[in-house]
């Protein structure tokens, strides 16, 4: 598997899929380096799932082309199928069968003999903490357990490329963290992961490169750092001791940093968004700001330097928010 170490796992050029009048995927170009987690970020209906389905050979593109490990997804679909594995957005195991039966079934379909399929199934169930539920029908599993059995089914034969379509949608924060751990373990073994998500912090946590998709088009692509840099260097959050002095502090910061300063609902809190300046890092700017406030005799109780959130990235790129209710408030809840 030499392709593991170098080159591209996925390469698409002008990929198009239309459903009637709708151009669900409207000319998508992607270059996914092998051995990494690549995040495809976008709101519902942006074309993420359609793109994944085309790459997994489930849908035939209406235009453009795509290669997976150098194999054309249309002409060499069978080669592609031999290298990839898909965990769909909705349960991609048979809900009427038990956990063990599902894994043995898929193991057999991948060519394992029955004893080998049974052994592998038992080992995977064990590793995923599902041994107790092994004999239960999947329809009785909780959301977190379903996700685990889904992913277990996808790595029965270690795939070179794993598609995870919104793997944590609808999961509680705890189960979500566990799925993240699984993804990290999988990619650490050399598997490339293409992850779609509508959660900005999920892409932030897992992916090394991110493509932002909106209305069937890639509207931004790059490393997390690059994406964030495109909307500014970050922000400084301050809590003052004396609410009376907030107006004054805002004035000082505006003059000093030429930054946009927002008042927070909390009467002692404020946030300054820092501009991008090549010579001046975010930390330098923040240090100067603190010095200036101290000179003016304004006491700062608490201070933090924040990277711009991907919410801000999305807003800056599309001019509209993600529409998913992942504003700062809900985001904090999820992260907590």
């Amino acid at each position: 598997m030499s392709t593991q170490t170098s080159g591209l796992a996925i390469e698409t050029a002008g990929l198009v899929k239309t459903f009637g009048e709708t151009r669900a995927v409207d000319g998508v170009d992607l270059a996914v380096p092998a051995g990494t987690v690549y995040g495809v970020l976008g709101p519902n209906g942006a074309g993420k799932t359609t793109t994944v389905k085309m790459l997994a050979t489930l849908l035939r593109p209406d235009g453009g082309e795509a290669h997976v490990f150098g194999h054309d997804i249309v002409r060499e679909a069978d080669e592609v199928r031999g290298r990839v594995s898909l965990t769909g957005q909705y349960a991609s195991v048979d809900e009427d069968l038990t956990g063990t039966e599902n894994l043995v079934l898929l193991g057999r379909l991948l060519g394992h003999r029955k004893p080998a399929a049974r052994t592998r199934a038992a080992q995977l169930l064990e590793a995923f903490g599902l041994t107790e539920a092994a004999g239960k029908q999947v329809k009785h599993y909780s959301g977190g357990m379903r996700r685990r059995i889904d992913i277990a089914a996808s790595i029965l034969s270690t795939p070179d490329l794993l598609f995870l379509d919104e793997p944590t949608t609808g999961l509680d924060p705890r189960s979500r963290n566990q799925v993240w751990d699984i993804v990290r373990a999988v990619v650490a073994q050399g598997t490339t992961v293409l992850l779609t998500t509508q959660y900005l912090d999920e892409a932030d946590q897992l992916a090394s490169r991110i493509a932002v998709i909106d209305r069937g088009k890639v509207i931004a692509e790059g490393t997390k750092g690059e994406l964030k840099a495109s909307v500014g260097a970050g922000s400084v959050h301050l809590r003052l001791r004396d609410p009376e002095r907030r107006e004054e502090a805002v004035r000082i910061l505006r003059d000093l940093l030429t930054a946009e300063v927002q008042l927070e609902p909390d009467p002692v809190a404020l946030t300054a968004r820092l501009g991008v300046a090549a010579s001046d890092t975010a930390a330098d700017q923040a240090a100067r700001a603190l010095g200036e406030l101290a000179r003016a005799g304004i006491t700062v109780d608490n201070f933090s330097l924040g990277q711009p959130s991907l919410d801000e990235v999305f807003l800056a790129l599309t001019g509209h928010d993600t529409g998913q209710g992942t504003g700062p408030e809900t985001k904090d809840e999820v992260a907590a």
Partner: protein, 282 residues
Amino acid sequence: MSTATSTENKELAPVSTESLAALLVAKERPPRPGSLSTSLTFGWRAILKIKHVPEQLFDVTAFPIMNLLMFTYLFGGALAGSPRDYIQFVLPGILVMSVVMITMYTGVSVNVDIEKGVFDRFRSLPIWRPSAMIGYLLGDALRYTIASVVMLSVGLLLGYRPDGGIGGVVAGIALLLVFSFAFSWIWTMFGLMLRTEKSVMSVSMMVIFPLTFLSNVFVDPKTMPGWLQAFVNNSPVTHLASAVRGLMAGDWPADEIAWTLGWSAAFVLVFGPVTMRLYNRK
């Protein structure tokens, strides 16, 4: 539902990333399985589903028994003098009619199943494409066998005595299974083509009722009007019913067997490719 709630509430065992990593290191891949192996594996899936939901066997047990009792006693006296005499003639026909009618459930199960996420997984596997569909039909063959055995047992209780003995009866059922397997490709096609379970059901009814009733299952076609005779005498169900009736009576109706096998081949050759085309596009 008590199992569901207890599972939901229980604290999940943690994921063991070390053992997971150890499993992932093993990159060896078994050779790709052959078409027979994957078809049988899908057949095993169908049988597992029967095992988990045995209620679905209702349509292959109660429905055929009802048919047999209803038609034997409804028409027996009028058509053959007594139900006991009529059953000698009608049992193979009702067996054929009931099993051919049951085949239409294949379309419904394909239609319901195909929308589930698991089919995306099956279709992204590097395996022989028709094996998932053949798996259904293999599972269904088991259902048809159960239906046949149930009907024959009830028939024997009612006084049916096949002159062909066990050999004739087994040959008749085998032919019926071959035909049902081939005929079912019509249903897999409809199952994939139509959007809802209901529409699959109503289209299936439209096909199955005329096809099974307009045949020689109940009466000799000689009394029918000429245009109807033309249809009935050439219907695949008539050929099949005659062949099964002959085999169970201890004859060797070579022509009818040949016609039945010919129709079977035609069904597979026409509807098999259409099904696979729809399956690949789904």
